[in-house]
C-alpha cells in the first residue's frame, strides 16, 4: 500500500481528445445537482413554504441580509448577490461532498494506473483559479464603472512624483496579490485537508482520522464562507472607491 498524493487532479478518461479530470467530472455533477435542487424547489415554490422551500428561503434570505449588511441595502446588494451566493453555495457543496462516505475508495483505470474517481473539487487549482479570476475581474469592472476608466488607470500609473508612482505600482501588485491570496487560500486549505486526511488515514486508519475530519469539516465551511465573503468585500470596496477618494481630499 502506498500513499499517492498528486498536486494536479487526475485525468479519468479522454472524451474526443478532451481530458476529463476527476475534479471536472465532480464539479459538473455537483453543479447539475445544485441546479436541479434549486430550480426544482424555486419552480414549485408556494406562498406557504414546505420544508425544503423553507430551508432554501432561509439560506437565500439570510445570505441576502448578510450581503446587504456589507454592501448596504439596495441595488448594489441585488447585483452582487447572485455571484457571491453562487460561489458560496458551490464551494460549500463541493467541500462538503468530500464527506460523502466511501467515495474515496472508488478508483478507475485510466490507462496508466488506478486513479480515484472523486477528489475534492476545490483541490483543483484550475477551478479555484477560474473562480478567483472571475471575482477579481468583476472587482476591476466594478471599479472601472464607479470610478471611470481614467481614474481607474490613474490609480496604478501615477507619474506626478516618484512616491505616487511607487504607490501606484504597489496598488497594481496588491490587485495581482488578490488573485494569488484568494485562490491559494481556498486551494491550499482544501488540498492540505485532503492530504492530511489521507496521511492520517494511512498512518492510523481507525479513530485517529476523526478529529482531523472534524477539522476538515470546519475548514470546508469556513473556506467557502471566507472565499465568497472576501469576494463580496472586495467588490463592495471597489464600488465605493469614489467616496473614499473624496473622503481623503
Amino acid at each position: 500500500m502506498d500513499l499517492n498524493i498528486s498536486l494536479a487532479p487526475d485525468i479519468l478518461f479522454s472524451l474526443a481528445g478532451f481530458p476529463v479530470t476527476n475534479t471536472l467530472l465532480w464539479s459538473v455533477v455537483l453543479s447539475v445537482f445544485l441546479m436541479l435542487f434549486f430550480v426544482l424547489i424555486a419552480r414549485s415554490a408556494k406562498l406557504i413554504p414546505g420544508r425544503w422551500q423553507n430551508f432554501i428561503e432561509l439560506l437565500v434570505d439570510g445570505s441576502y441580509s448578510f450581503v446587504e449588511s456589507i454592501t448596504g441595502p439596495g441595488e448594489k446588494a441585488k447585483r452582487v448577490f447572485p455571484l457571491v451566493f453562487t460561489m458560496f453555495i458551490f464551494t460549500l457543496v463541493a467541500n462538503l461532498a468530500v464527506y460523502i462516505p466511501g467515495q474515496a475508495a472508488i478508483t478507475v483505470y485510466n490507462g496508466e494506473g488506478f486513479v480515484p474517481v472523486f477528489r475534492a473539487v476545490m483541490s483543483d487549482y484550475g477551478l479555484v483559479l477560474i473562480m478567483t479570476l472571475i471575482s477579481v475581474l468583476v472587482m476591476q469592472i466594478v471599479a472601472i464603472i464607479t470610478a471611470g476608466p481614467w481614474k481607474y488607470l490613474g490609480r496604478f500609473i501615477n507619474l506626478k512624483n516618484p512616491l505616487a508612482f511607487f504607490l501606484g505600482l504597489m496598488e497594481l501588485v496588491g490587485e495581482l496579490a488578490k488573485i494569488i491570496s484568494l485562490s491559494f487560500r481556498l486551494f491550499g486549505n482544501i488540498f492540505a485537508g485532503e492530504v492530511l486526511g489521507s496521511v492520517i488515514l494511512f498512518l492510523a486508519p481507525f479513530f485517529m482520522p476523526l478529529p482531523f475530519q472534524f477539522l476538515g469539516l470546519l475548514s470546508a465551511v469556513v473556506q467557502a464562507f471566507v472565499f465568497s465573503v472576501l469576494t463580496l468585500v472586495f467588490i463592495s470596496m471597489a464600488s465605493e472607491m469614489p467616496a473614499e477618494e473624496e473622503a481623503k481630499v
Binding site: S6, L7, A8, P9, F18, P19, T21, L24, S27, V28, S31, L34, M35, F38, V39, I41, A42, R43, A45, L47, I56, E57, V60, D61, Y64, F81, P82, L83, F85, T86, I89, F90, D124, Y125, G126, L127, L129, I130, M131, I134
Partner: protein
C-alpha cells in the same frame, strides 16, 4: 510553466470549468434566486397586508366595543328613566284613584245624607198632613155637634156676610 503543469492547469479544462461555473451561475440566477426573491417579496407583502388588516380589525373591534358599551349605557339609562316614569305614573294614578274614590265615597255619603234628610222631611210633611187632617176631622166633629142649632145658621150668615 512547470508549476502550472504541476498544478494540472490545462487550458481546455480551465475553459470547461469556466463554462460549468458560468452555466451554474446563470441557471441559479435566472431560475432560482429570482423566483425565490419574488416569492419572498410576495410573502412579505402579504404578511404586511395581513398585519395591517389585523390592526384594522382590532381597531374596529375596539370601536365596536366602545359603541356597544355606549349603547348599553344608553339603554340602561333609558330603562331606568322608563322605570322611573312608570313608577311616577303609577304613583300619580294611585293617588288619583284614591282621590276619586274618596270623592265618590263623599258623594255617596252626601247623597245618602240628602236622601235621609229628604225622607225625614217627607215623613214630617206626611205626619203634618195626617195630623192636620186628624185635627180637621176632630174639629169638624166637635163643630158639627156644637153648631147643630142656631150657631150654624149664625155661622152661615157670617160667612155670607163675609162673602158680600
Amino acid at each position: 510553466m512547470e508549476l502550472l503543469e504541476a498544478l494540472g492547469l490545462n487550458l481546455k479544462i480551465l475553459l470547461a470549468q469556466l463554462v460549468n461555473f458560468a452555466v451554474l451561475f446563470f441557471v441559479l440566477w435566472k431560475f432560482a434566486y429570482k423566483p425565490i426573491f419574488k416569492m419572498l417579496e410576495e410573502r412579505r407583502n402579504k404578511i404586511a397586508k395581513g398585519v395591517k388588516d389585523a390592526d384594522k380589525a382590532e381597531d374596529k373591534l375596539k370601536e365596536a366595543k366602545v359603541k356597544e358599551q355606549e349603547l348599553i349605557n344608553a339603554a340602561k339609562k333609558e330603562a331606568l328613566q322608563i322605570i322611573e316614569e312608570a313608577r311616577e305614573r303609577a304613583e300619580a294614578k294611585k293617588q288619583s284613584v284614591i282621590d276619586k274614590t274618596k270623592e265618590e265615597i263623599g258623594q255617596i255619603i252626601n247623597a245618602e245624607k240628602e236622601k235621609i234628610q229628604q225622607e225625614k222631611a217627607d215623613t214630617l210633611k206626611s205626619i203634618k198632613a195626617d195630623v192636620s187632617e186628624l185635627v180637621i176631622l176632630a174639629v169638624e166633629k166637635v163643630l158639627q155637634e156644637k153648631l147643630a142649632g142656631a150657631k150654624d145658621e149664625e155661622l152661615v150668615a157670617k160667612a155670607i156676610k163675609g162673602l158680600k
